[in-house]
Amino acid sequence: MISLAVDDLSYFGRDPWWLVVVKAVFCFAFAMLTVLFSIVWERKVVAWMQLRIGPNRHGPWGMLQSLADGIKLMLKEDVVVKGADKFVYVLAPVVAAIPAFMSFAVVPFGPADNEISVFGHRTPMQLTDLPVGVLYILATASVGIYGIVLAGWSSGSTYPLLGGLRSTAQMISYEIAMGISFAAVFLYSHSMSTSQIVATQQHTWYVLLLPVSFLVYMVAMVGETNRAPFDLPEAEGELVGGFNTEYSSIKFAMFMLAEYVNMVTVSAVATTLFLGGWRAPWPISTFWAGANHGWWPLLWFTVKIQLLLFVFIWLRGTLPRMRYDQFMKLGWKVLIPVSMVWLMLVASVRALRNENYDFQRVLLYVGGGVLAVLLISLAADVFRDRAAKKAEGAGQAGQEGPGDRFDPMAGGFPVPPKPGQTLPPVPRRRSRAPEAAEHQLVGKDGDDA
């Protein structure tokens, strides 16, 4: 039996208090500056994608735009709506913002072995690390959901309530797929501590070993941060502004800030878990030995985060918003089974390899099994399609059944026709004869208009 790997976290928890404060301020400032930059950058990039210019008034190249926005919001009236639960209403933006910053505590910006020195004191380039680092990130992200839920509930208004509910359902649905995709990483790293996970990616990044997990995580992280194309909790076309409809002034800014900090956080997690963390990308690390030492890792880390943030912006500029039922279907019926089956595949291959089975043959068997399952499901689909077509044909041949008649007020609400149903002819206004009554569109007892 192989002995349990003990995490080497001896470098952490040894800093003097002033150094902890300096590093905490650094983490806070890093998150803040990245957010300030990425808001302007997003507006710029989306503008370019739509052949516009974008913000260009404040500061060089419009770079101080988000600072100007922040100051403007600060000077706006702080409205507390009449129906609101005052205490929770004021608390919600604070609850949303704090956990967003807190996740940065375990993000590794550089090597963990006391490489850099701050005022003559050697220290790891990471605020702290825990044996359960990734679990901690998941936990703080979940607390952030409370901010949104409480904001929706406490506003005492219809649209925010719907937005808050949607947001909860959305985030918990995608958290499952996200969690399962992390498990595959832990299989390889033997650890949940972030510094350890980066350390085990010295030779191969996990994005190459676990491409499916990475893809699932990429989709889930867009869903988790309520970003386009999954920005259903704040869908302007349906819910005005979603959970933040009733918020104004800096409280609104807090929600925006939390959303963007969360974007930075999930990008940092993706970088740490799949993209080699602070390690220099492949061609650079081959010819430059110093690339992974000193302060340089901070550069690679920032570049990777910015690339992932660009993906967020790119998605927003490219894809239209999804429908809610399609979105839930994607989460529950695609992402969860795919990530679960992938995790079990990875685990099986790894276990058989540990037991010294012939890897080629294992791969053959597993690949064959997957192919067989795919073929069976394809065949099942074809047969189901045929059966459905036959049923449809039979339905058309034998006139529409009594259930196919269109009832415009089904269930007491005005509804559009379902697929296969046709609208009744529009009742034209004829003479004011007494038989006009039978031309009414609404036939509750089902009589033919």
């Binding site: 129906g83 604070v94 704090i98 807190m102 702290t128 499952i176 650890s191 409809t245 839930m328 019926k333």
Partner: protein, 119 residues
């Protein structure tokens, strides 16, 4: 310092920033009373009165929450298993395959009964 203490420092920093901003904004902003401004926003019409006790939600949200708990607990079991996977060997693999299979029976049942359909 303890390895967990820096988290509190960063949390305190975030909390200080958030609370400071919210308090400052209530001091710096103008205050002009207007009855319509304090109404809940509903596209300009008179706001719908909020039902007592919060009203009723579609059952779908409860169902999603229940399913989430099932899978989240599954994940809680998966994490320690994944971390110590190499030490557990084939035994661990078989045990976890059986466990996942058990959960997937429930999953398949929910799927067939339409519990995952949103409409």
């Amino acid at each position: 310092m303890n390895a967990y203490a820096p988290i509190l420092v960063l949390g305190g920093l975030g909390a200080g920033f958030a609370i400071f901003s919210v308090v400052m904004a209530s001091l710096t902003g103008p205050k002009r009373y207007n009855r319509a401004k304090l109404d809940a926003y509903e596209c300009g019409i008179e706001p719908t009165p909020q039902p007592a006790g919060g009203g009723r939600f579609p059952i779908k949200y409860y169902l999603t929450a229940m399913l989430f708990i099932v899978f989240d607990i599954e994940i809680v079991f998966l994490y320690p298993w994944a971390v110590t996977f190499d030490a557990l060997g084939l035994f661990g693999l078989v045990e976890m395959l059986l466990f996942v299979l058990t959960v997937f029976v429930a999953y398949a049942y929910v799927w067939r009964r339409g519990g995952l359909e949103w409409d």
